[in-house]
C-alpha cells in the first residue's frame, strides 16, 4: 500500500495518488457513459418521426359566414377558424395594449409581435404568390389553436364570456374577440398556429 498511498505532508494533506486519478477518471467515464445510455430512454418519449410528419392540413374558409366559426383538427387538437363581424373587429381593435395580461401576439407567423388585433388576425398570415384574398376578408378571419392556455380545455366560442370572444367554463378564463386572455387563470393568449393562404378559398395550417 505504501507505494500508492503517500504519507501526509507537513500540513497534513496527502498528495493525490495515481489511484485517486483512476477513481476519478473511472467515475467520470461511468457518468458520461451513463448519460449517453440514459438519453435514448428519455428521448424515446419525444414525438416520433411519423407524428412530426403529420404536420399540415388544408381548410377552406370561403363558406364560413360572418360571425360563424368552424373547428378543424390539426395535430390531434382543435383549430378554430372564425369569420368575425365588423363589430367584433372594432371591439378588438379598441382595446389598449396596456389592458392585456399577455402582450405577446402568440402568433407563429409573427414571433414576438405585439398582441394587436391585426397581428392576431389573418392579416398577419403570408399569402402565397399569385393568390388574391381581399384585405377585409383577411382582417375578419382569425385562426387559433382551440385549447385554453390554462389547462388545455376547448373554450366556448360565439362571442362567449365577458369580452365578446371565447370563454373556458372549466376554470373561468375569458378571451376577447381577438382571442386574447382578459380575465381568469389562463396565462397566455390563445395560440395562433403557422398558416398561410394557399388559394383564394383555402388556408394551409402547419
Amino acid at each position: 500500500m505504501s507505494d500508492v498511498t503517500p504519507s501526509p505532508d507537513a500540513n497534513g494533506h496527502s498528495e493525490p495518488s495515481r489511484r485517486d486519478f483512476i477513481y476519478i477518471a473511472a467515475g467520470g467515464a461511468v457518468a458520461v457513459g451513463g448519460a449517453f445510455v440514459l438519453w435514448p430512454f428519455i428521448d424515446q418519449m419525444n414525438p416520433a418521426a411519423d407524428t412530426l410528419a403529420l404536420a399540415s392540413i388544408r381548410a377552406p374558409f370561403n363558406d364560413i359566414a360572418e360571425g360563424e366559426q368552424v373547428t378543424v383538427m390539426w395535430r390531434g387538437g382543435p383549430v378554430f377558424i372564425r369569420r368575425r363581424t365588423q363589430a367584433d373587429i372594432e371591439s378588438a381593435r379598441a382595446v389598449e395594449l396596456a389592458a392585456l395580461p399577455d402582450k405577446d401576439a402568440r402568433n407563429e407567423n409573427e414571433p414576438g409581435a405585439e398582441a394587436t388585433d391585426p397581428n392576431r388576425s389573418a392579416l398577419s398570415a403570408p399569402v402565397n404568390e399569385g393568390v388574391e384574398v381581399p384585405e377585409d376578408v383577411r382582417a375578419s378571419l382569425i385562426v387559433m389553436k382551440g385549447n385554453c392556455t390554462h389547462l388545455g380545455c376547448v373554450p366556448v366560442g360565439d362571442g362567449a364570456g365577458d369580452y365578446n370572444g371565447w370563454f373556458c367554463p372549466c376554470h373561468g378564463s375569458h378571451y376577447d374577440a381577438a382571442g386574447r386572455i382578459r380575465r381568469g387563470p389562463a396565462p397566455e393568449n390563445l395560440h395562433i398556429p403557422p398558416y398561410s393562404f394557399v388559394s383564394s378559398t383555402t388556408i394551409q395550417i402547419g
Binding site: 418519449m45 414525438p47 390531434g76 380545455c153 376547448v154
Partner: protein, 436 residues
C-alpha cells in the same frame, strides 16, 4: 424483522431451508410472533385492508390487461367489450374500478389515523415518508388508469393534468410535449400510460415491503401513543390481530361488494361512457372523488403556476410533517387543543373535496341577490379559506401547539391504560407518564 427471533423450525425441511433462505422465519417474525401493542383499535386494521386492496387491484388488473387494447381507436370499444362480451368481464372491471375507490377510502382512513395518533413522529419518520411515497404512487397509478378507458373524462382529465406541467417556466412546453409524445394527448400518451399503469403497482408493492420493514423495526404505534415498555404491553400478532384484521377485512369486503354489485358506476362519472373527443370539452371536468381536494386547491389560486405549486405543496408538506409537529406527545387523545384542530382539518379536507366537485362560481352560502341572481360566498372562496386552513394546520398550528399546549396526563404503560379503562375513568389510579 427485528430483535430476537422466536421462530423454531419444526420439520426437517424447515430446518434445512432456514439455514439457506430464512424466509419462513421472516414471515413468522413479521406476521405470526411479532409483538404488537395489545390496545390497537379498529383504526389500525386498515393496514391489512390496504394489503388486500393492493392484491385485488394487481390480480384484477393483470386479468383486465389480457383483454384491454391500448390504442385510441380500440381502447373505448375494448372496455365496452370487457363489460359486455368477455366472460365475467363486467365483474372484473367493476372490481378493478371500484377497487381503486376502496383503496383510496382505506388509505385516507389509514393516513388520518396516523395523523391523529402521531404515528409519523419519532422514531417512525421513515415509515411515514415511505407511506407518503406509496400515496404519491397510488395517485399516479389511479390517474393513468383512469385515462385508459379513453372516455371524455379520461381524455380531458389527462389533458388538464399534463397541462399542469406547462406552467413551469422555460421547460414547460417541451416537457408537456415529451409527456404526450406528440402535440397533444394521443395514442402515444395512451400507450405509455398503459405501460406505466401496469408497472406502478409493482413499485407500490416494493415500497409497501419497505413500509412494513420500517414498521417492524420500531414496532406499531398505538392509541395511547406510549411506547411498548414490557412484554405485558404486547400480544403476538397471530392469532390476536390476524383474527381482528380478518373480521375487519370481511366487513370491508361487504362494503366493497355493495359497490361492485349494486352501484358499480356511482363513484365514476357518466361522461366517461362517451368516447374521447379531442374537439369537445365536457361542460365540467372533474377528477375522481379521491383527488378532488387537490383539484380544489389547484383552482383556488388565480394563477396557473401558483395553483400547480400549491397543489404539489399540499402533498409535499406531508413529507416534512414529522419535523413540523413539535409536540412531545404522540397521541392526540392526550392533546386537548390539537384534537380540535385535527377535527377541523378533517372537515377542511372533506370540504375541499366538496369544493372540487362544484363549479368554482357556484354559490356555497347565499347572501341576498342581485339582478335576480343569488349572490354570496362562492365555492371558489370557500376553497380558498379551506386551502388556507390546510396549510396553516401543517405550517403554523402543529409547530406552535407543541409549545402552548398542556397535554393531559397519560397512563404509565399500555397495560395500565387497558386495565385502567376497565377500572373506571381513564385517569383514576393511573400515574402520569413522563413526556414522550
Amino acid at each position: 424483522m427485528s430483535g430476537h427471533s422466536t421462530y423454531e423450525p419444526k420439520t426437517g425441511f424447515e430446518r434445512w431451508l432456514d439455514e439457506r433462505l430464512p424466509i419462513v422465519r421472516l414471515g413468522y417474525d413479521s406476521f405470526v410472533g411479532f409483538p404488537t401493542p395489545r390496545n390497537l383499535n379498529y383504526w389500525w386494521t386498515f393496514g391489512g385492508i390496504l394489503t388486500v386492496c393492493l392484491m385485488v387491484q394487481i390480480v384484477s388488473g393483470i386479468v383486465l390487461a389480457m383483454h384491454y387494447v391500448p390504442h385510441v381507436d380500440y381502447a373505448f370499444a375494448s372496455v365496452e367489450r370487457i363489460d359486455r362480451d368477455v366472460n365475467y368481464g363486467w365483474l372484473l372491471r367493476s372490481i378493478h374500478a371500484n377497487g381503486a375507490s376502496m383503496f383510496f377510502l382505506a388509505v385516507y382512513i389509514h393516513m388520518f389515523r396516523g395523523l391523529y395518533y402521531g404515528s409519523y413522529k419519532s422514531p417512525r419518520e421513515v415509515l411515514w415518508i415511505l407511506g407518503v411515497v406509496i400515496y404519491l404512487l397510488m395517485m399516479a397509478a389511479a390517474f393513468m388508469g383512469y385515462v385508459l378507458p379513453w372516455g371524455q373524462m379520461s381524455y380531458w382529465g389527462a389533458m388538464v393534468i399534463t397541462n399542469l406541467f406547462g406552467a413551469l417556466p422555460l421547460i414547460g412546453g417541451p416537457l408537456t410535449e415529451w409527456l404526450w409524445g406528440g402535440f397533444t394527448v394521443g395514442n402515444e400518451t395512451l400507450n405509455r400510460f398503459f405501460s406505466l399503469h401496469y408497472l406502478i403497482p409493482f413499485l407500490i408493492a416494493g415500497v409497501v415491503g419497505l413500509h412494513i420493514w420500517a414498521l417492524h423495526v420500531p414496532g406499531n404505534n398505538n392509541p395511547t401513543g406510549i411506547s411498548v415498555k414490557s412484554s405485558k404491553d404486547t400480544l403476538p400478532f397471530h392469532p390476536y390481530y390476524t383474527v381482528k384484521d380478518g373480521f375487519a377485512i370481511m366487513l370491508f369486503l361487504v362494503i366493497f361488494a355493495f359497490f361492485v354489485f349494486y352501484a358499480p358506476d356511482v363513484l365514476g362519472h357518466a361522461d366517461n361512457y362517451i368516447e374521447a373527443d379531442p374537439l369537445v370539452t365536457p361542460a365540467h371536468i372533474v377528477p375522481e372523488w379521491y383527488l378532488l381536494p387537490f383539484y380544489a386547491i389547484l383552482r383556488a389560486v388565480p394563477s396557473k403556476l401558483g395553483g400547480v405549486i400549491l397543489m404539489f405543496a399540499a402533498i409535499g408538506v406531508l413529507f416534512v410533517l414529522p419535523w413540523l409537529d413539535t409536540s412531545k406527545v404522540r397521541s392526540m387523545r392526550y392533546r386537548p387543543l390539537a384534537r380540535w384542530f385535527f377535527i377541523f382539518f378533517v372537515i377542511a379536507g372533506l370540504g375541499l373535496g366538496w369544493c372540487g366537485a362544484k363549479n368554482p362560481d357556484d354559490i356555497f352560502l347565499p347572501l341576498g341577490s342581485h339582478d335576480g341572481h343569488a349572490t354570496g360566498i362562492t365555492f371558489l372562496w370557500l376553497a380558498r379559506v379551506l386551502t388556507l386552513y390546510y396549510f396553516a394546520y401543517f405550517l403554523v398550528i402543529l409547530p406552535l401547539l407543541g409549545f402552548v399546549e398542556k397535554p393531559k396526563p397519560r397512563p404509565a404503560s399500555i397495560a395500565d391504560s387497558v386495565h385502567g379503562a376497565k377500572a373506571g375513568p381513564q385517569d383514576s389510579g393511573v400515574k402520569p407518564a413522563p413526556a414522550e
